[in-house]
């Protein structure tokens, strides 16, 4: 039986195991070294691998992410930590115009073994500038892969797969997941990084979610039992590419679809999910797919208001019920 560890520990273990065997891997970011990482993900690695392989950087997101691009072009496997996704706005040229495009523009002559990890999402009253969600922006960039692990096991698997990939991979970690616990079994063979996971089987309704919302959707599903609704819950695990097959197969069975995301609803990730699954499952759908997303407003600092801007378990329950009216 595998032990229960924190999400951050699963990420830490993945990095440690890989760095021990592959010298091409190095970590860089603000306070990843001596300090051990804002969310402890790189704890202990500086002492073990030294400052060149665990590099504390100045506050220069655009350039240290670009540094990762350069190093990846020559065959290294840089793991860039952008302290939070909010600062990734400063690194989007490096991610979108460089990492995602340079190998293509060279006609396919260079690898891009770059991994960019970013904690994000609405945490606890960090206010509008520190509550970004960026999945929609990154999804629209061909050439990037995006994983959104929701459990320690997935964090362990997907980070390992990301680091070993020759494609640029963005790992979106939710700030409120770092101190969630779960089993991590290193001996199990991992599923493909983009494979969606059915977290709960059900007959009446498909709820698709990812990252922190996957757990909330599961809780909502348990509550829905009392209302006589048996919901299937799918955790996407990957936002680019998306495992459409698993999703469509579920919708074809349940005939109802609820999509839950924390991102602002307007032009959020859910829009793509709803649009594609409508195309694929139109005739099987009883009602229009429903998107439950964040409100289209910057995140207020006030805690009660903050909570009202993103889906809560009760909101998911209510939305699910709406699909049966």
């Amino acid at each position: 039986m595998a032990d229960e560890i924190f999400y951050w520990q699963a990420l830490n273990r993945a990095l440690d195991e890989l760095m021990a065997v592959d010298e091409a891997i190095f970590i860089l970011g603000e306070d990843v070294g001596l300090y051990g990482g804002s969310y402890r993900v790189t704890e202990g690695l500086y002492a073990k691998y030294g400052e060149w392989r665990v590099r504390d950087t100045p506050i220069s997101e655009g350039s240290f992410t670009g540094l990762g691009v350069g190093a990846a072009l020559m065959g290294m496997r840089p793991v860039v930590e952008i302290m939070t996704v909010n600062f990734a706005l400063l690194a989007l040229d490096a991610i979108i115009n460089m990492a995602a495009k340079v190998p293509f523009m060279s006609g396919g002559a260079f690898p891009m073994g770059l991994t960019v990890r970013m904690p994000g999402g609405v945490a606890k009253q960090l206010a509008a500038q520190h509550s970004q969600r960026l999945e929609h922006t990154l999804m629209n960039v061909p050439g990037l892969r995006i994983v959104v692990p929701a459990t320690p096991q997935d964090a362990y698997w997907q980070l390992k797969q990301a680091v070993l990939s020759d494609e640029p991979v963005i790992v979106l970690e939710h700030e409120l997941l770092y101190f969630s616990k779960g089993q991590v079994d290193e001996t199990l063979p991992p599923p493909p990084p983009h494979r969606a996971l059915c977290r709960r089987q059900g007959r009446d309704l498909t709820i698709i979610a990812y990252s922190k919302m996957a757990a909330l959707a599961e809780q909502a599903a348990e509550k829905l039992v009392a209302q006589g609704i048996d919901a299937e819950v799918i955790d996407l695990r990957s936002l680019s590419p998306i495992d459409w097959h698993t999703c469509a197969e579920s919708v074809a069975r349940t005939h109802r679809l609820l999509i839950v995301e924390e991102d602002c609803r307007f032009a959020g990730a859910g829009a793509e999910i709803a649009a594609t699954l409508t195309e694929r499952c139109f005739t099987q759908l009883e009602v229009a797919p429903l998107r439950l997303g964040g409100l289209d407003i910057p995140t207020p600092y006030n805690g009660r208001l903050e909570a009202q801007t993103i889906p809560q378990v009760e909101d998911i329950v209510a939305a699910a019920k709406q699909l049966f009216n």
């Binding site: 603000e30 300090y35 950087t57 960090l126 207020p300 600092y301 208001l305």
Partner: protein, 350 residues
């Protein structure tokens, strides 16, 4: 520095210290959440700089800005209420600790993304020139912020167009856990200004008078139309980076050494008209400032009583601020939508 001014400085610094320590307590109580970046140790910078400004000048600052707001005149009640996320907070509960604003006092905000203060300040400076006014902009930033690209881009533009901006580096020598020698190839921040031909000076940021004088001088130059200036204030924060940071990356001796040059203590010393001699300072030993304070008191330039009075007054101010914040109503979602849509000026989309 005359006695009145010294007392004003001392008041603001004492209030600053008390306010921040109380904020820390309220954070532990759960009345304040989010990231809370406190200022103890650095008070001489905000107080020295802002006392040298005019009411018509604009202030642009970072997430570590409670004290800047207080010194600028934003009532302690409104600052505390904002930390509590309440509707009479200076940002109506929408911004919180890192985003204090006060339009009336030209307090143009706390910015939480490191490096944002530069272009905002430069933009205001540009507007001032376009309007041909004798105003200036004060732009605060940390030592870690110096490595952000906007520093370079903005200082170049400010210099190129001779904009009335005073750049003030609060060099507390740390970017969270990364000491300045590990983040900057040239750790003397003021030297970087030469790449833009901006006059720059390094001052002891633990000495409120020096900060005040340097600011006065720089603002004179700026108002004479010679373009931007930069002041680097070397200072230290006594606490961790934020309430989430134990600060264990700093050697205890380092923290202690700087606590011994505590600017609040130094301001007290300034009140003494008879300065201690260098010998006296040299022989004062590790608790030199405490001893100096006693020495000043002995000289009769400042009475135990007046210090106690001041401390009580300040405590009452802080207490009142907390009471106000506690009693203040929470904002509603309607308030939030209003904050977002008020610039739509009533336009209704149909």
């Amino acid at each position: 520095m005359d006695r009145d001014q010294a007392l004003a400085f001392l008041h603001d610094m004492t209030l600053a210290r008390a306010f921040e320590e109380r904020a820390a307590q309220e954070y532990m109580q759960g009345n304040i959440a989010g990231f809370l970046h406190l200022y103890p140790g650095e008070e001489a910078v905000a107080v020295g700089v802002l006392h040298a400004c005019e009411a018509s000048d604009y202030i642009v600052t970072t997430y570590r800005e409670h004290v800047h707001a207080l010194v600028r005149g934003v009532p302690a009640e409104e600052v505390m209420a904002e930390l509590f996320g309440k509707s009479h907070g200076c940002s109506r509960g929408m911004g919180g600790s890192m985003h204090l604003f006060d339009a009336e006092r030209r307090f143009m905000g706390g910015y939480a993304i490191v490096g944002e203060t530069y272009p905002v300040a430069v933009g205001i400076g540009y507007g001032i020139v376009l309007k041909d006014l004798p105003e200036a902009v004060i732009c605060f930033f940390g030592d870690g912020a110096v490595n952000q690209g906007t520093f370079h881009e903005s200082l170049n533009m400010a210099a190129l167009w001779k904009l009335p901006v005073l750049f003030v580096c609060e060099n507390n020598q740390y970017q969270i856990g990364t000491e300045i020698h590990r983040h900057s190839a040239v750790p003397e921040v003021y030297k970087r200004a030469s790449a833009y031909r901006i006059p720059a000076e390094r001052v002891d940021g633990m000495d409120v008078l020096k900060v005040y004088e340097a600011t006065q001088h720089a603002l004179q130059q700026i108002r004479a139309g010679t373009g931007p200036q930069l002041i680097e204030c070397v200072t230290y924060r006594f606490r961790g980076h934020s309430m989430a940071d134990p600060g264990s990356y700093r050697p205890p001796v380092e923290v202690k050494a700087f606590q011994q040059v505590d600017p609040v203590e130094m301001a007290l010393r300034e009140l003494s008209l008879a300065y201690p001699s260098p010998e006296q300072i040299a022989t004062a030993g590790p608790d030199c400032l405490l001893r100096l304070r006693e020495y000043c008191l002995d000289q009769g330039h400042l009475h135990e009583e007046s210090i106690k009075d001041l401390e009580q007054k300040v405590q009452a101010e802080v207490e009142a601020a907390v009471q106000f914040a506690l009693e203040c109503p929470e904002p509603t979602m309607d308030d939030a939508w209003d904050a977002l849509l008020c610039n739509r000026n009533g336009e209704v989309l149909t």
